[in-house]
């Protein structure tokens, strides 16, 4: 009988989300990030609805991207009807993506 590293608990290939959830550091992918001009925002939430990663946090009267996961795709900036959002190069920031 061989020694297992006990990767697997069952006979078949099952995962248990309560025991192990995986997550990628997708915030490290982007080359530009969304910057919000809060004064123009009318809280319609389209940026949050259309964000593919669904990383927008509801801040009661505006939305902010969670930079841990934002991939910098720019959809929010493109879709915002009030032009609240600009995509700014990551090179302009020195916080390594921590908001």
């Amino acid at each position: 009988m061989v020694e297992f590293k006990i990767f697997t608990k069952n006979e078949g290939a099952w995962s248990n989300a309560d025991e192990l959830l995986l997550c990628l550091n997708t915030g490290s992918w982007r080359s530009e990030r969304p910057v919000m001009d809060r004064k123009k925002c009318n809280y319609c939430g389209l940026c949050a609805l259309f964000c593919p990663t669904q990383c927008m946090t509801n801040m009661e009267d505006h939305f902010l991207p969670n930079l841990d996961y934002c991939k910098g795709c720019g959809t929010c900036a493109k879709e915002c009807p009030k032009k609240v959002i600009r995509m700014v190069s990551e090179g302009e920031f020195h916080d390594q993506g921590k908001a």
Partner: protein, 313 residues
Amino acid sequence: MTSNKKKLSKVFDYLQGEDPFVGGLSFCAGCPLELLVRFVPRVLGRDIVIVGTPSCSATVMYGQNIGAWHNLSSLGCLMTGVASSATGISRYYRRTGKDITVVGFTGDGCAADVGFQTLSGAAERDENFIYICYDNEGYMNTGIQRSSTTPLGARTSTTPVGSARRGKETTGKNLPFIMAMHKISYAATATLSHLEDLAKKLLKAKEKKNQGFAFLHIFSPCPTGWGFGTDLSIEICRMAVKTHYYPLWEAERGRFRLTHKIKKPRPLSELVGMIGKFSHLRVEEMAALEKEVAERYALIEGMSQTIPLDETV
């Protein structure tokens, strides 16, 4: 002035519960499929079992060894086996008397090609589950190969453009129409620019699946494969509807309704001009594609008039 009035979009009302997926998923930046994957379970609710297959969605539907990317119940299958596995699960649960929603979730490669036989079989038997096909018009996960829904003339890695041959030589299958012709309980097309419409159709599918098969076809453009900027996915969905390229309709038992009548379509060139896979189209190739698009819209418009789905059905 109402321009700064703080009012959330109605679409938020359709979203119940938390996003069951983790924050960081391996989809390309700007991928509308990621939006769809996160949207569907929030609208349908948690009492679902998702049946997935190797595809762009597989990377998140399937866990790795014992880890998972989401906390939903799901089964990963073969491409040839999605509709049939979903049948097995839904039939078993039907027997136990529990009302659950089984959702087959695949791309066009599975639904229109290798898994088509089993999809057609399940539809003909009017099985009680929802089948969602996200159509990015190709086998994207394996590197942008053509599928049977790839449109006429499109460039893919297996229909490249050169001096001898120029893109796909046959027209794409009208998959949602073929499925509606099985006279299933509910068939509909939707896309990600029209989120409220998508949410309503998802909920309708959830209700209609109790009477029979429900098929949803979602237009889901691929920034990586089609060649457009990561920020343009939603705009392309919107343009596809406006140019008649992707008509939005629904059908119940073979009776049709156009849910978005576009009386004055924008020129197709406005859509095609945004998409890299069409950038090589010559005048006559563009004309052939325009003819296809016009006929496809006319077909649905005609069906909506001759075999209409009225509200009482």
